[in-house]
């Protein structure tokens, strides 16, 4: 076998072989996750994010776009817990509403990447041959691009907007998923029972769904949680380089990059920064926890 460059080597774990997608299993995994020390913290953090995003309109004390000319750059107070920004807007409200945008970027970009990447990986790994060769050369090429440069170029070409940032982040994550899944598929397809299934005349699609996907699922979920974390970082970097989401929509990344211009007003930099930090940390912990849990079930 040729030593392939598996980008996922560091995170890919051996998943539960032949795990069936019963609800009880999902619950069992969740229970195990909540017993896992760091995984629990991650799960709580992520729930907090979901809660903030879902109830932002109820939780936020102010309209996040409401300009207050009399309260520019005021520090934290009883009135504005997180202070106000350069246009007198309430930072707490913006951080809360920002969770919606950040969650959107994360969820849409990663599901997009997942959908395309996993399909590409499964088909490539299962069919091999010329399709695999071509697909993997393209994937190699894309992997050789630093993600930030590639996403920067894509957003610059499409024009800066939330949708285009999501598209760019999705595209740059496709190769990683494709590589990961392809590697897993190649190792699974040689397993005896998959060979056996083929021998008894199961269709390719059915083999993929019944035998291959359940084996790949675990690593994909772990990987997706880590990539979701990276997506938030990429979005903030895009904002920093000047190609972020359009104002006045708040994202943590754009708030942070604006804050860089106001070194005196620490509150407009610290709070969105902490929001990013907590979210990314939670997702990483969750990914680690999932790996341990799924690993242990082997």
């Amino acid at each position: 076998m040729i030593a392939t460059s598996e980008p996922a080597k560091d995170v890919a774990a051996t998943p539960a072989i032949g795990a069936a997608p019963e609800p009880s299993r999902v619950l069992a995994v969740l229970r195990a996750l909540l017993r896992h020390r760091l995984g629990r913290i991650g799960a709580i953090g992520l729930s907090l994010l979901l809660f903030c995003a879902a109830f932002a309109p109820l939780l936020a004390p102010f309209d996040p776009a409401e300009i207050d000319y009399e309260a520019l750059l005021e520090g934290p107070s009883w009135h504005h817990w997180f202070g106000t920004d350069e246009l007198g807007r309430d930072v707490l409200s913006r951080v809360l509403y920002g969770s919606q945008t950040s969650l959107q970027v994360m969820a849409l970009a990663i599901s997009g990447a997942l959908l395309i990447g996993v399909t590409l990986g499964i088909v490539s790994g299962f069919l091999r041959g010329w399709f695999d060769d071509v697909a993997m050369r393209v994937v190699d090429g894309l992997l050789a691009f630093p993600t930030i440069i590639l996403s920067l170029a894509i957003v610059a070409a499409l024009g800066p907007s939330l949708t285009n940032a999501i598209i760019a982040i999705a595209i740059v994550n496709v190769p990683d998923f494709a590589r990961l899944v392809r590697g897993e598929v190649i190792s699974v397809r040689e397993l005896e029972y998959v060979q056996a299934a083929r021998a008894i005349g199961m269709t390719n699609a059915r083999i993929l769904w019944k035998h291959v996907w359940p084996n790949v699922r675990g690593s994909v979920i772990i990987y997706a949680s880590l990539k979701a974390a990276a997506a938030i970082i990429t979005e903030s970097a895009l904002s920093f380089l000047g190609l972020g989401v359009q104002p006045p929509d708040p994202t943590w990344g754009s708030m942070l990059s604006t804050a860089m211009q106001y070194s005196d007003a620490w509150w407009i930099s610290i709070f969105p920064g902490l929001a990013i930090f907590i979210t990314v940390l939670s997702l990483n912990l969750l990914g680690d926890g999932l790996r341990d849990v799924l690993d242990a079930r082997t």
């Binding site: 560091d10 050369r137 630093p146 930030i148 170029a153 970097a237 860089m260 990013i276």
Partner: protein, 313 residues
């Protein structure tokens, strides 16, 4: 082995050409007229049109690409639209900056990440392990530019220990060069150290459970000897793989870091060129990055196979 090498090197060529074509097309899809950068916004529209024609920018993109490729193969990467500086000359001054940053960052990361990973693995599930894990996972959770700005606030503005940004070539003034490099290297190196730590820890744990380690222990070999001779050597294989595979990501980190610290490296060269529609510069620099990353991946594969005889070539 030789056959494998030749095959792998030959595979680079189509990947690089395909990537260049992709970049070329993307670059020309960018809205905006490079002549605006060259002539300035005061220039009459007629002068801009004339310049576009003169530079051949109005020809079909495939033609322009073939032209470029032909010249690139002879080592001529064209000139910057904006400053007229040959792209090759620009690369020769930029590459050392990014290389210095990445090499120092890898070194820093290895010095911190690998020992911490070993300690965490040996004391698995102790408070040391938890602390190291939290530290590493935290340093991965901060955007590079935020870390960079926090470092500047601390070391330059508060403490006044380090110069904030800029670059002096190493051979011109080694001391000043290193001073200027401390914060950028920390910015990139810390995130990278976290990755290495996680990888080392995972690999060590796996190796420590292997039969040969148990055998060595049973034979009564001294613990440090077991760790170094048996465990570490095998655990380092995936660690080296990660070092190699993260090279692309490292350059990505360098893009943002170079912007924060105003380092004239490859990353900043590419981002500036994208913003200025300086197509030749984007092309040349991306070619270098892509080929560089692919070569590093190749070297990684070879190292991996040399270290791990189980992998057949």
């Amino acid at each position: 082995m030789i056959g494998f090498l030749i095959r792998r090197v030959l595979q680079i060529v189509p990947v690089a050409i395909v990537m260049c074509a992709v970049v070329f097309t993307t670059a020309f899809m960018l809205p905006g007229d490079p002549t605006l950068t060259i002539l300035g916004e005061n220039a009459p529209a007629a002068a801009r049109a004339a310049l576009r024609a003169e530079m051949g920018l109005d020809r079909p993109i495939p033609l322009q690409f073939i032209d470029w490729l032909g010249r690139a193969l002879t080592g001529d990467l064209g000139k910057s639209f904006k400053t007229g500086e040959p792209v090759m000359d620009m690369l020769l001054t930029r590459i050392p900056v990014t290389l210095e940053l990445t090499i120092l960052a890898i070194t820093l990361a290895a010095c911190i990440g690998v020992p911490l990973g070993i300690i965490a693995a040996l004391r698995r599930n102790s408070w040391v392990d938890t602390l190291v894990s939290i530290l590493s996972i935290s340093s991965l959770a901060m955007p590079f530019f935020w870390v960079g700005m926090l470092l500047i606030m601390l070391f330059t503005l508060r403490l006044g220990w380090l110069p904030p940004s800029g670059y002096v070539p190493f051979f011109e003034d080694p001391l000043r060069n290193l001073q200027l490099m401390i914060m950028p290297v920390m910015t990139v190196g810390m995130a990278y150290a976290a990755l290495l730590m996680r990888q080392t820890r995972a690999a060590m744990i796996e190796v420590l459970l292997q039969d040969y380690v148990r055998t060595a222990r049973a034979k009564g070999a001294a613990e440090p000897r077991i760790i170094i001779r048996h465990a570490l050597r095998n655990a380092l294989i995936p660690v080296i793989t990660v070092i190699g595979l993260q090279f692309g990501g490292l350059i990505g980190g360098a893009v943002v870091t170079e912007t924060v610290f105003a380092l004239p490296g490859l990353g900043r060269m590419i981002t500036n060129a994208i913003f200025e529609r300086d197509y030749m510069v984007v092309q040349g620099a991306i070619l270098v990055v892509v080929v560089g990353v692919i070569l590093v991946n190749l070297v990684t594969d070879i190292t991996y196979s040399l270290l791990d005889r189980r992998v057949q070539l």
